[in-house]
Subunit: 498 residues, 2 copies
C-alpha cells in the first residue's frame, strides 16, 4: 500500500515535469515568434511547434494519466497543493481529450503562422487577406468548444469559462448591461463637455527620441517593481507579457516616435502583469498552476496602468525625471497639465490606447461580436462592416482602415476568442480592489513617497502568490468579502470624470 502510494506520487511528479517542459518550450516559441523570429521563418518553425503541441496533448490523453488521476482521487491527496494540481490536470485533460489529435495539431500549427499573416494583413489594411485564416481559427475553436460544451452551455460559454472560471454569456450580459447603463450616458456627457473645453495634449505627440524612450521605460518598469534580474523588457508590435516561470518573466512594449504616452502606458500595463508573474509562489511556479487566471491578470495590469499610473500621486515624485529626459518637449509643461492630458477622455478607434472611461465600450463591442460569431448570427465576411457599425454606434467614430479597425488586436489571430471580456472584468476587479486596499494602505500617500514596493508587496501577499490556483471570485471574496461587483468601477469613473 505504502509502495503503491509512492509510485503514484512519483508518476504524478514525472507527469508534471514533462507537462512543464513542453509548455515552457511552447511558451518560448510563442515569445520568440512575436518578438524576434524573422519574417519567413514561421511556417517551418510551425512544424516543430505542431509536433510539440501534439506531444503535449498526447501527454494528457493517455490511459495512464486517467488511471493515475483516478488513483490520486481514490487514495486522497496528500496536500491541498497536490489536490489543486490534480484537479487542474483533470480539467485540462477533459479539455484536450475531447479534441481529436489531428485537429488539435492542425490548430496548433495554424496558430504558429496565423499571427504573421495577421501582422502582414494589418500592415496592408487588408481584412480580406486575413479573413480565410480567421474563419478557419473560428471554426476550429467553435468546434472544439462544442465538443466540450456541457448541458446548458453554449460553445462561447466554454471559452469564457476557460479564461475566467464560472463566467458565462448570461453572467456577462448582466455585467455588461450594468456597465453600459452606467457608462454610456457618462461618456456622452464627458464628450459634450470636452467639445466645449478640449484638453490640451499636443505635447505628448511631438517627436520623442526612441532610444531615450527605451531608457525611460526601462527605468519606469524597475521603479514599478518589475525585477530585471528575473525579467526582460523587449519590443513587439502588440505589447504582451509571458513567462517561462517566476524568475523569467518577459514583458514588451512598443515605441512610437510621435507618441510618448503609448509606450509608457503599455509598459505600466505589462509591468502589472509581469509583477504578478514574478510574485508567484515557489510551490506553484513551473506547474500548471503558475501564472494566473486571465481576469485576475488583467485586474493587475489595469490596476497598475490606471489606478496607479494615471494618478497625480504616482507622477508627483517622478514627473521631474520625465521632464529632464525630454526637456524640449516637456520642460514647460506643468505636472497638472500633464496629468489632465493623460486622463483626457476621447472616444477613439484603438482599444489599447483608449482612456479608462471609453475602454470598456471597446470590450463590449468585441463581446457582442464574438457572441454573434459563435452563435452563427454573424459571419466572418460581414465582420469588418459590423465592427465599423458598432464603433459608430457606441463610440461615434468609424475606422478608415482595417488596421485601426477589425484587425487591430492580436487575440483572434492567436485563436483566442472569449479573452476580451477579461479586460473589462479586470477593470472592475481593479476598482473594487482599490477601494478595499485603500482602507488599509493609503495608496496615495505611498505613491507620493515613491513607495511602490509597499503596493506590490500587498498585491503579492493577497493575489500574486496564489498564481492560477484562485480565480477572480474567490480572491475578491477573500479580500473584499463580496464577489465581483461592477458598482465600484462605475462609481470610480463617475467620481473621476464628473
Amino acid at each position: 500500500m505504502e509502495e503503491k502510494d509512492t509510485d503514484v506520487r512519483k508518476e504524478f511528479s514525472d507527469f508534471l515535469e514533462k507537462e512543464n517542459a513542453i509548455r515552457t518550450a511552447l511558451t518560448l516559441f510563442d515569445w520568440d515568434n512575436e518578438t524576434l523570429a524573422p519574417e519567413a521563418a514561421s511556417w517551418r518553425t510551425a512544424k516543430a511547434y505542431g509536433v510539440l503541441a501534439a506531444a503535449y496533448q498526447e501527454l494528457f490523453c493517455g490511459e495512464e494519466l486517467g488511471t493515475l488521476l483516478w488513483r490520486i482521487r481514490e487514495e486522497g491527496s496528500r496536500s491541498p497543493l497536490e489536490k489543486a494540481l490534480a484537479l487542474r490536470t483533470e480539467r485540462e485533460r477533459d479539455k484536450l481529450v475531447s479534441i481529436p489529435q489531428e485537429e488539435y495539431r492542425r490548430f496548433s500549427e495554424l496558430t504558429a503562422v496565423s499571427v504573421q499573416r495577421w501582422s502582414m494583413a494589418k500592415k496592408q489594411n487588408d481584412f480580406a487577406a486575413f479573413a480565410p485564416t480567421l474563419e478557419e481559427l473560428l471554426d476550429m475553436q467553435r468546434r472544439f468548444a462544442s465538443y466540450r460544451a456541457k448541458e446548458g452551455q453554449t460553445p462561447y460559454d466554454v471559452l469564457l469559462s476557460d479564461y475566467e472560471e464560472g463566467f458565462t454569456e448570461k453572467k456577462l450580459d448582466g455585467f455588461f448591461g450594468e456597465l453600459g447603463r452606467g457608462l454610456l450616458p457618462l461618456v456622452q456627457e464627458v464628450t459634450q463637455k470636452n467639445k466645449k473645453q478640449p484638453v490640451s495634449c499636443d505635447f505628448l505627440f511631438q517627436s520623442y527620441d526612441v532610444e531615450k524612450q527605451r531608457h525611460w521605460n526601462k527605468w519606469l518598469a524597475a521603479y514599478l517593481g518589475f525585477q530585471f534580474s528575473r525579467g526582460v523588457l523587449a519590443e513587439s508590435e502588440h505589447p504582451f507579457t509571458t513567462s517561462l516561470h517566476k524568475d523569467d518573466v518577459r514583458i514588451t512594449t512598443h515605441y512610437y516616435k510621435n507618441n510618448l504616452e503609448s509606450a509608457i502606458f503599455s509598459t505600466i500595463h505589462e509591468a502589472g502583469h509581469g509583477i504578478f508573474e514574478q510574485g508567484n509562489s515557489e510551490a506553484l511556479t513551473q506547474t500548471i498552476l503558475g501564472g494566473g487566471s486571465c481576469g485576475v491578470h488583467e485586474s493587475q495590469s489595469r490596476f497598475y496602468e490606471n489606478m496607479l499610473g494615471r494618478s497625480r500621486a504616482f507622477w508627483t515624485p517622478i514627473y521631474g525625471r520625465l521632464q529632464r529626459s525630454f526637456p524640449e518637449q516637456l520642460g514647460d509643461i506643468p505636472l497638472d497639465v500633464f496629468i489632465r492630458a493623460i486622463n483626457r477622455s476621447e472616444p477613439g478607434l484603438i482599444r489599447t490606447e483608449a482612456d479608462e472611461l471609453t475602454y470598456c465600450l471597446h470590450i463590449m463591442i468585441r463581446y457582442e461580436l464574438e457572441k454573434r460569431l459563435f452563435s452563427g448570427q454573424l459571419s466572418v465576411k460581414e465582420l469588418e462592416q459590423e465592427w465599423n457599425k458598432w464603433y459608430e454606434e457606441y463610440l461615434g467614430v468609424t475606422p478608415k482602415t482595417a488596421g485601426e479597425g477589425v484587425l487591430q488586436d492580436i487575440h483572434w489571430a492567436m485563436g483566442e476568442f472569449g479573452y476580451f471580456p477579461s479586460y473589462a472584468l479586470g477593470n472592475a476587479m481593479a476598482a473594487q480592489l482599490y477601494a478595499y486596499m485603500d482602507r488599509e494602505l493609503n495608496i496615495e500617500k505611498l505613491l507620493q513617497a515613491g513607495e511602490l514596493l509597499s503596493v506590490s508587496e500587498y498585491l503579492r501577499e493577497h493575489i500574486h502568490r496564489f498564481g492560477a490556483s484562485k480565480g477572480m471570485e474567490e480572491l475578491l471574496s477573500e479580500i473584499t468579502g463580496e464577489g465581483l461587483n461592477a458598482k465600484y468601477y462605475i462609481e470610480y469613473l463617475q467620481g473621476k470624470y464628473t
Copy 2:
C-alpha cells in the same frame, strides 16, 4: 510486403519529425539563454531543458528505433537521402545509447546553467569559482567519450571525430606539427619587423557610437549576403551562430564602444556561418543533416572573415561608406592605412581578436591543453597556470586576469571539448578553397565590383547545400581533387606577411 515498407517509411518520418521538434526547441533554449534570458532564470529553465534533453535521448534509445533502422537496412534505402538520414540517425543512436539516462540528463541540466556561471566568473576574473563546474563537465564528457571509444581510440579522439569525422589526435598532431613548423618562425620574424616598424591602428580604438555600429554592422551582414527576411543579427557576450532551420538563422556580434574592429570582424565571421546555414537545401533543413560539420562551418566563417573581409578588394567599394558613418574617426584615414591596420599581426591574448597569422597558435595551445586534460596529464586545478605558461611560450604574452586568459572562451563552459581544432582546420580549408575557387571566379574582381552574391552562390552550390551530409575531406576532394592540405594555408600566410 508493400504495406510493411510503407509502415517503415511512415515510422521513420515520424521519428525524424519528433527528432527535429525537440532539437529545435533545445536550440531555441540555448539561443535564448545566451542572448536574452534574465540572469536569475537559468537554473529553473534548466529543469525544463533537462526534461526535453532526456526526451531527446529516449527517442533515440528505444528498442523501436533499433528495429526500424534494422528494417531500413534490410529492405534497402529508397534514396541516397534516406540512406544518409538513417546512417546519421544510427550514429547518433550509438552515441546516445551509450550514455546512461541519468548521467545524460544531469549533463544537459548542467550545461544549461554552466554558461551563466562561466559568464559570472569571467566578469569577476575568478577561475577558481568556475573550476568545479568545469571539472564536472570535463569528467562527464571524458566518461561519455570513454563509453563510446572503440578499439584504438582515445576518449579525446571520440570527441574530435564528433566535430569533424575521421579526425584523431594522431592526424591532428601531424597537422598541427606541420602548421607549427611553418608558422612559429614566421610569427617571430613578423613580430621582430613590427617592433621596428609598428603599424598604426590607434584610430580603430577611438570612441565609436554603439548605435551607429549597430546600423553599420547590420548593413554589412546584408551586403555579405546574409538575408534578414530569413535571419536575425542580435548581440551576445560571445558571438555565435545558430539556426532553427534554413529560414531562421541567427547570428550575434558584440559591440565595444572603443573598438570598431571587433564587432565588424565578428559580424563577418558569423555571417559566414549564417550564409552557410541559409544555403542548406530544402531536403536537408529541419533534419538531422541540416547545418554542417564543425570544420566545414569554420572554413566558411574564416573564409568570409579573412580571405574576403581583410582584403583590400573587399573594402574598396565600401570603405567610403564606413568613413561617412564615422567621419570624425576615419575621415582622414586613407583606405591603405585602414587595410594595413586590420591586417596587422601582433601576438595577443584573445583568440577571437587574433590576427590570421597568430590565430592558429591560440588553437594549438587549446588543443595541447585539451589533450592533456583528457589523458589525465593535466588537472583542472593546474589549468590556469598551464594556460599562462603556453601563452608565454607560443605568443610571448601572459594574461593578467582569467578573463583574458583561461576563461575567455565559452566552449568549455558549454561542455564542448574537441571543438577548437575545427577552427584551425577551417582556416586551412578556407585557404585551400580560395586557391581553387580563384581559378574559376577571379575573386578579387568580384569583390571590387561588390558582387558578393557571386561568391556566396559558388559556395552554396559546392558546399552549403550539402549541409552536414558531407564532411571536410569529402567536400575538399570534390572541389580541389585532394584532401585537406595544410600547405595552402602556410603559403597563403607566408605570401601575405613577407
